[in-house]
Symmetry: C2
Subunit: 221 residues, 2 copies
């Protein structure tokens, strides 16, 4: 089992639950920090001291305060650490349950597990730790569908990009121009209209505003 674990979570209180889980697994060498930057430094330092951590459990959202941070979120921390130290196991432990974020963390940053804080968060966390120790991944049930490959009901990246541009305040004509500038095809205003119309039908949205609201709620953007 893991022997040296770091917990990163700005709410000090929640760590006590995590600590008891680790204790159950016989893991005693546990440190905790309340800032991502501290986590980064502690992990770096441990490597220099040739006593590296073998597991990081980190929250994603950290309240900003007076301290200027190089890594303001758990996401930033994970990206940096996995790039520099792919061998370090990382479990994300967050209230966030948006599929898009889960997908990003797992597929792009290669996080080892994603556990949703919730009524059964600690139970799931224990499972996650054991699976990650066996070089496997883990996802909380509520976000397990994020990785299943059947989720794609023919909505592609182009479609997502359109809605994202919409949500950023661009008009449909702006979007057309933007696509032309970036040599993305199709780019005509008419095509943009047509695609968005298809999406509206697919998501049963009354208009573009409704569409953006729905797609945001689904966590696709």
């Amino acid at each position: 089992m893991f022997t040296k674990v770091l917990i990163s979570d700005d709410l000090g209180s929640i760590n006590q639950g995590v600590l008891s889980v680790l204790d159950n697994l016989g893991i005693n060498n546990v440190q905790q920090v309340q800032y991502c930057d501290d986590a980064y430094l502690k992990i770096k330092r441990a490597i220099l001291d040739e006593a590296p951590y073998d597991l990081l459990i980190t929250d994603l959202s950290f309240k900003a305060d007076h301290r200027e941070q190089k890594y303001p979120s758990g996401e930033d921390l994970i990206r940096a650490l996995k790039q520099e130290h792919p061998e370090l196991k990382i479990i994300a432990y967050s209230v966030e349950d948006r599929l898009q974020k889960v997908r990003l963390l797992m597929n792009t940053y290669h996080t080892d597990a994603y556990v949703c804080k919730g009524r059964h968060g600690l139970v799931e966390l224990e499972k996650a730790i054991q699976l990650v120790y066996d070089n496997k991944n883990y996802l909380s049930p509520q976000v397990a569908q994020a990785i299943s490959h059947k989720t794609d009901l023919e909505i592609n990246d182009y479609d997502i990009e359109l809605v994202k541009l919409l949500s950023n305040g661009l008009s449909q004509e702006d979007i057309s121009i933007h696509l032309k500038d970036n040599n993305i095809s199709p780019s005509s205003l008419s095509s943009v209209e047509k695609r968005l119309n298809k999406l509206r039908i697919q998501f049963k949205a009354n208009n573009a505003i409704h569409l953006v609201a729905i797609v945001k709620d689904l966590g696709l953007i």
Copy 2:
């Protein structure tokens, strides 16, 4: 000091921190629940048994699951309890730090204290408990401004309602009709336009779509 306390929070783990705070204050008779409905029933039962709780510490947001709930959020629970049992002291303990919500809870529902979960959440919670016991109120520093009097530049419930209706797919004319049907004033199309325009300026949004996206990202709707 308080003798019988109920804690309501769907994340079981966080309660351990709260428990240790209560322990420090010499409060041992503490129960905890993970659903607002359970909190309501437990409090009602205790009153019938003539052994009422004298303090409730509750979270605001509870993840919905298979169990159908009469009080899906801590807000609903507080409103109901303060209406039926004004003498019961209630402390809201939440990550939520939106002034609008704080104002509603304190001024309208007469919650006794509002503590933000965060790096210093437990310290603040201890202060809150002591002040509430002395029939005073407490607000975490980051939301203390919620009650200060110069808050008129803020967004009110009417504004939020407008954006929410927008995000539900209603056109501005639909919204006008809806407001007229519900005897909410102002209700004219022109007024709806004007309010939304003000909100667009306030949130630096290019158009209604952008506005909805921004407000959703801020978690206001």
